[in-house]
């Protein structure tokens, strides 16, 4: 795969990130491209900054005051094709718009305390879609897209709190997919799930990359190698290595990456 075919959707450039009150930055000059319709995995030992980096990419960090960014995170404007720095966004509605374009799935399933239907329709309603017929269609499409339509179509009005963990996580993915985001960020989406549900989620992620670019943080090395096209290895806030997944797992150029992948530390 020649690099010229790849289109960057996002690019992190020389990013420093500091948590409020921390004496030094958690991310130290990170550079990372995110390629369109590819899955990029972020791996590394606990505390290496991979979740922090992911959470910077839709600025969900900004819910808590006092943090500082330095550097750039570019996101391609779909109309003009130009890269725009998301760290320049200031207003609440600009950030809301950003989070609808760059969605996020969390470690634990987080269904809202409402019905299955309303969980998926909620984001759409926030976008201003009010027509019942249109909503019905989009909800069905999203649930099908998240491979959960068959299990849920007869109980759309039931509370989402009663579903199994794996189903809830797929519902959360449906909820994000419904908004047709450009990028979807997964923060260890299967760490709270059993192997079968994990398999279903992985299959789903490989499926949605046709339409949505994916970045995924994972502790599970097999998951990164099975699922991703590109992998980046992080350590103590630095990006040690970024390359095609195959290269990282078979022939890493950095000694540290090799040590981590072969289980010598981490």
């Amino acid at each position: 795969m020649a690099n010229s075919e790849l289109k960057k959707v996002m690019e992190v450039k020389d990013l420093f990130f500091t948590y409020p009150g921390a004496p030094e930055p958690t991310l130290k000059g990170n550079n990372l491209p995110i390629y369109e319709n590819k899955i990029t995995a972020l791996i590394g030992p606990s505390g290496c900054g991979k979740s922090t980096l992911l959470r910077a990419m839709n600025r969900i960090h900004d819910l808590y005051p006092g943090l500082t960014y330095k550097g750039k995170i570019d996101l391609r404007n779909q109309e003009t094709g130009k890269m725009e720095n998301i760290l320049d966004l200031k207003k609440e509605n600009e950030l809301i718009n950003l989070r609808q374009r760059v969605g996020m799935i969390f470690q634990k399933p987080t269904p809202f305390p409402m019905s299955i239907y309303d969980n998926v329709a909620y984001g759409l309603k926030l976008q201003g879609i009010k027509n019942k017929g249109e909503l019905d269609g989009l909800v069905e499409e999203a649930l099908k897209g998240a491979a959960i339509w068959k299990e849920t179509k007869d109980r759309l009005k039931d509370s989402a709190m009663g579903m199994s963990g794996g189903q809830q996580q797929r519902l959360c993915i449906a909820r994000s997919v419904a908004l047709k985001p450009e990028v979807l960020l997964f923060d260890e989406p299967t760490s709270a799930l059993d192997p079968i549900s994990t398999g279903a989620i992985e299959e789903l992620i490989s499926e949605i990359k046709k339409d949505i670019t994916v970045a995924i943080v994972t502790h599970n090395m097999q998951q990164a190698s099975r699922l991703s096209d590109f992998t980046t290895f992080m350590y103590l806030g630095d990006i040690i290595e970024f390359d095609e997944t195959e290269k990282i797992f078979l022939n890493p150029s950095q000694k540290m990456t090799e040590d981590y992948i072969t289980g010598r530390f981490g």
């Binding site: 609440e92 634990k108 409402m114 909620y122 926030l126 994000s176």
Partner: protein
């Protein structure tokens, strides 16, 4: 050996509260018998409270104190609920970190002020303000209701805040992650998530307001008349009981037990409802 002793002791303590509850109910019920036989359910809508000549017999009806209690509590709840929700939302979602702590402590301290202090403050300072703004003669249903509201707000706000604080951060983040505003997160995620606790706090405050004696005794006017407007003085069950016990005899005493029984049943029902909500919440 020690284990067995301790077990018996805790068993005794636990059952004691249950027997107290049943015992109090039984006493109220027994002493209320005379009045219940004389007046029956007419007691609930008789507006007269008059001992007979030589303290023999007389006509007693609970309509005015019952209405006074319900009305003052209703006013208190209507005023307190939105304010307490506002305080709780402010403290959990809006206030910047540094001021959450002092505000929370202030609210908890307010909840600890003895009710007689609210009563005195209400009578000497607040009642004239109410008179100035709404007319009437200062003491009355409205003043009592407003001060009752001020008394239950801290309590209601503290419980609601604790309940809202149990909303997992990640749940709020996921709502923000699909593009919700702060207001939408509060309305669609935090409020439904903590619904059980919020309803519980309202009902517990309602229970407190129903039984409040001291502050209301200062402020409601303690007269046996049906209020025509909201600023008119009237009386409430606890106030009537506190004021009349000393000189009451026979049938009047029994009628007061009847009133106490009614208050007991209403409060008990309210608290039982609150428990039911808290319990229903835990099952999730």
């Amino acid at each position: 050996m020690g284990g067995k002793l301790f077990r018996n002791f805790s068993f005794f303590s636990a059952t004691l509260s249950f027997f107290l509850l049943v015992g109090i109910f039984a006493i109220l019920f027994t002493y209320a018998q005379e009045s219940m036989h004389t007046f029956g359910f007419d007691f609930l809508y008789t507006e007269i409270w008059e001992p007979g000549e030589d303290d023999e017999g007389g006509i007693f009806g609970g309509y005015i104190p019952i209405m006074g209690t319900l009305m003052s509590t209703l006013i208190a709840m209507i005023l307190a609920t939105p304010l307490a929700m506002g305080i709780a939302i402010f403290l959990t979602e809006i206030a910047p970190g540094q001021i959450v702590k002092p505000f929370s402590i202030a609210i908890e301290l307010l909840a600890a002020i003895p009710s007689i202090i609210y009563g005195m403050w209400g009578l000497f300072y607040f009642a004239p303000i109410v008179q100035l703004l709404f007319g009437g003669n200062g003491v009355g249903l409205l003043t009592a209701g407003i001060v009752l509201a001020i008394m239950v707000i801290p309590f209601m706000a503290a419980i609601t805040r604790d309940s809202m604080n149990t909303t997992p951060d990640v749940l709020k983040e996921s709502a923000y992650a699909i593009g919700a505003t702060k207001f939408e997160v509060i309305k669609d995620v935090i409020m439904p998530y903590s619904k059980g606790g919020i309803i519980g706090s309202i009902i517990l405050s309602l229970g407190r307001a129903l039984g409040e004696t001291m502050a209301v005794a200062f402020l409601i006017g303690s007269v046996m008349t049906v209020p025509k407007v909201i600023t008119d003085p009237t009386t409430s069950i606890p106030v009537l009981l506190a004021n009349n016990f000393a000189e009451a005899q026979d049938l009047e005493i029994s009628s007061m037990y009847y009133l106490a029984l009614i208050l007991f049943v209403v409060s008990f029902t309210v608290i039982a409802l609150a428990k039911f909500y808290f319990f229903g919440r835990k099952k999730h």
